[in-house]
Symmetry: C2
Subunit: 144 residues, 2 copies
DNA sequence: TTGACACCTGAATACTTGCTCATATATTAC
DNA sequence: GTAATATATGAGCAAGTATTCAGGTGTCAA
């Protein structure tokens, strides 16, 4: 359980601090722009939080889980049936989504029902869907 | 180069088809809801595209690159200086972002300047930033 | 109590990822 | 031409990830 309790985030922040501490021997090309960029850059902790949220949505299985839960509450068993995957695999992913704060669960007898945690997730999902549906030229076209 | 030319996407789609093909022996709890969910589920290819886009933003380094480029165009060298990382590391990540279609580049002599590809990326980035800044209780609080 | 069921979880495994290091390419200055 | 500079890239490694498998917990019904 401790595996998901912010250990990774902490490690990332430590790494980030080390990066900042490391001296950078690259010569600056446009110092004014560099200073401006440094001033407005999102801090390492925020960047890590953002990356974690996006990472929660960075797997097709999880995207499809979110897509399903965006419509209605569903139990683990039915989610597995809808996605055509094993109950175990879905359960593992649901735990991840739960720890990341994207879904909530509600126990009812031996069943466990999952829903999206808030409408913020819906927004992110919709933005991603928009971007995937239009303005998508296909990854292979951009290899140059 | 072929590593980034849609090979992964293709593999994911193949996996997805296998999942669908595998028969699911879990008993349905609420068949009506399952049928409804199946009908509205995003298809595997779209889910894969979405996951790829989110994945592009699922790393703190890339988030910070996007954050920097959201403000202004910058060359690789200065980007490396702003982020306090090696030129090589930044260049690798920029290639990824380029192949994923999040950034564009412009050559000027021996310099290469990068910008965000479109404002759609800005939207996604902003949504992520909102979500990270408020409504964030911290990953560790949700381990139950 | 016994068994069935819905779900959870740890270990194992194959795969993916982000960095560094060394090196390659391309442009500019001399 | 040579040297210096800006960027790109391939190999390699350490770390992370998604699934399967085997087994565990808690609930319900007979």
């Amino acid at each position: 359980m401790s595996k998901y309790s912010g250990v990774k985030a902490t490690r990332m922040v430590i790494e980030y601090r080390q990066q900042i501490a490391d001296h950078c021997d690259v010569v600056l090309v446009d110092e004014a722009r560099v200073r401006a960029a440094e001033a407005n850059l999102v801090d390492g902790l925020t960047a890590t939080h953002m990356a974690e949220t996006f990472q929660a949505l960075s797997d097709p299985t999880r995207v499809r889980i979110i897509s399903t839960l965006a419509q209605q509450e569903l139990c683990v068993c039915d989610l597995a049936a809808v996605l055509g995957m094993s109950q175990s695999a879905i359960s593992h992913q649901l735990r991840l989504l739960r720890v990341m704060g994207l879904v909530r669960h509600r126990k009812e007898g031996r069943m466990v029902y999952y829903v999206l945690d808030d409408e913020h997730i819906q927004h992110l999902f919709q933005e991603g869907l928009e971007h995937a549906r239009h303005g998508r030229r296909g990854v292979a076209d951009r290899s140059s």
